[in-house]
Amino acid sequence: MLDDLSYRIKIPLAMSLVIVATTAVVAATFTWQSYRQAHASFVHHGEALGKTLARTLRPALLHDDVWQAYEILRTPLERPVDDARVLILLDANGHVFAASDPRQYAILTPFNAGLRAPATPANRDPDLKSSVLESEDGRWLYFSTPILAEDGTLLGRLLQRYDRKLVAPRFVDVSADALYAALAALLLLLPLGWLAGKHLTDPLVQLARCLGRVGREIPESIQCDFHHGRDEIGRLAQSFEDMVHQLREKQALERHLAQSDRLAAIGRLSAGIAHEINNPLGGMLNAISNYRRRGGSDPQAEKTLDLIERGLLQIRDTVSALLVESKIESRALTPADLEDVRTLVAAQVQSKRLTLHWRSAVEEPLPLPSAHVRQILLNLLLNAVQASPEEGDVTCSIGVSNVLTITVGNAGPAIPERRRQHLFEPYFGEEGGEGHGLGLWVTYQLVEQLHGSISVESVPGHTRFSVVLPLEIRRES
């Protein structure tokens, strides 16, 4: 059951338990120490009083003055008769000479309370030394002080009998003090301990929560803000972030590969279909041409042939666009080619009252096939113009380093996610847009043929296509 408990509870709980245990131990130690001190001071006080009284009691014993002895015995007592504190003076025979409570200890009765030495080691000559004794039942504490003549003869013995309960009130006071102090400490420490424990476990809990999301959610959406320390949790968090990052890359790679594979398959498929269509198509067009060359057809037939020929030509256009035949031209790309494209789109730019921000760094011929690059740039620009809202901005920037970089942006709405996944595939606009939707497919095919890459960023109000073409074309075998 403890194993199922969250660390969010377990660690603060453990800290609280440690605090409670520590406080209890400290309080208990303090109480015990104080009790010992109180007891020691009690004994010390009793012995000191015994010595003082023994000196003043000596003449009374010597002179057999019972009354004087009684008055001396009574002096240190707050009340004349106090069962908790009784002073008894014994004569040399161990009989009561006088006592502060004469009714309990009558004169000349033998004193036999049956005392034993509690903790102190046995005295060699107990009669001539002060000692602490206790009654058989442990209720009374006795301080025994001998009263000696000048030559050391034992004249008598002063016994101070104290109720052990006299020490108890001090013990209770001390215990109460310790208890209050402990409670105050707990009141202060427990919230602190709980907070500290929570502070320690929060990153762990957060990490656990984030870990739990892996597998259930796509890695891109897993965003966890960890503290970055060098402690174990920090390192764990770092590893986790690395893992998520790698997952993300893997997923992107997979998606990219899938897209490339799909595009390649589509390319092969469409090429195959185009070839299959082109052969009969060429035959059909040749047949119409031969038929015309022979002449003699009636106008009605001629009209029908025209209709068929236009249809066939449209099929051929579409198919050839799908095929993206690589017509590698030897002519290199010149700045004029780029300017041509700019001129070509100028009319459409004007019709939508757009602003075209044009920036080209190409100043000399580049080792790239001009037709391909012209087609790529034209397609991108036409797309941008089409996507851009009225009176919007369209940007085109062409940079050169060891690669040619073409970036075309517009301020249109973002490309829908559903569409973006199949952005570069042949697309036949069901929404009735212009063109046949093959522009980006063609562009993609051209970029692939030039061993370049194409990417897109699209957020609302800003969509940007980037094409990177290497200038050194690696001829594949």
């Binding site: 057999d64 003055d65 019972v66 009354w67 009684y70 004349p80 008769v81 006088a98 004469p102 009714r103 009558a106 004169i107 000349l108």
Partner: protein
């Protein structure tokens, strides 16, 4: 504040007036007045007032002298270290050749008192000192009639040897302390001045209530104030003492003593004590 203080000062001055008699008297030697516990001589406030009273009327300083027991006072008096002393009748009859009566207190209308045998209040059976055989007994003072002589005589009359009759006996050197010793149970019985016991019963009933008067003696002459025979110039003192009952201040002081007056005593008052003494000596 200032007004109140002045009033207080004037009040004090009124009190102080008798304590500082005419300057001429300061030159005279002080009257040395020995006291013993035959009366409650531990009340310092009363002694200061009585002293002021006496000084005013005698026009000379008065000093009360207290000692631990009767014997010391008696020795001082006989040794001419005291002018007079309030003693017990027992030392007086013994030293009658050297001492004479100055004044005798009047208690309950007569110059007589009794000795009491007291026991703890929880002892309800004791009727006589003879019931206390083998017990612990408290005497007041070996020079006291009521606190020593009377019980000695009682025992002797009964044929008992006082030295062996009790298991233990001791002196407390004062009647009041005999009462205390019996009250707390230190002694099972005690011999005490009946006048002291009665006076304490009025002042501190909680003390006397812890004791019970088991027996009381016949009447004896009250402890007198005595001088050495032939001491000159004692008339003024005698006159002052005898006159106390006639002045309001003197009456107030006598009331504190629980006495009626001082009177000229007669030697015959003490014949009972003397007889006891003689009996004990036989």
């Amino acid at each position: 504040m200032d007004h109140a203080r002045r009033r207080l000062l004037s009040l004090l001055a009124g009190f102080a007036l008798p304590t500082r008699p005419a300057t001429a008297s300061v030159d005279q030697p002080p009257l040395l007045f020995g006291t013993t516990p035959v009366f409650l001589d531990e009340q310092a406030d009363f002694l200061a007032r009585w002293r002021a009273y006496l000084e005013t009327l005698l026009r000379r300083p008065v000093r009360f002298v207290q000692r631990a027991n009767y014997r010391e006072i008696l020795d001082l008096l006989l040794g001419q270290k005291l002018d007079c002393a309030w003693l017990c009748g027992y030392p007086y009859v013994r030293m009658k050749a050297q001492l004479e009566l100055l004044a005798v207190p009047v208690y309950a209308g007569r110059p007589l008192y009794r000795a009491y045998l007291i026991v703890p209040a929880d002892d309800t059976t004791t009727r006589s000192i003879l019931d206390l055989r083998g017990r612990v007994f408290a005497y007041a003072d070996p020079d006291s009639n009521s606190g020593w002589l009377v019980p000695q005589v009682e025992l002797k009359r009964a044929g008992e040897a006082a030295t062996r009759f009790f298991k233990k006996s001791f002196f407390t050197w004062g009647h009041r302390r005999v009462i205390e010793a019996v009250a707390v149970g230190l002694a099972h019985g005690g011999a005490v001045d009946g006048y002291i016991w009665d006076s304490l019963a009025r002042l501190h009933p909680e003390l006397t209530n812890a004791t019970r008067v088991a027996w009381h003696s016949p009447e004896y002459g009250f402890p007198p104030i005595v001088i050495r025979r032939g001491t000159p110039g004692v008339e003024a003192l005698r006159h002052t003492l005898l006159g106390m009952a006639r002045t309001p201040l003197g009456q107030a002081l006598l009331a504190r003593l629980n006495l009626d007056a001082f009177t000229i005593g007669d030697e015959g008052l003490y014949s009972g004590i003397e007889a006891n003494w003689r009996y004990l000596q036989v």
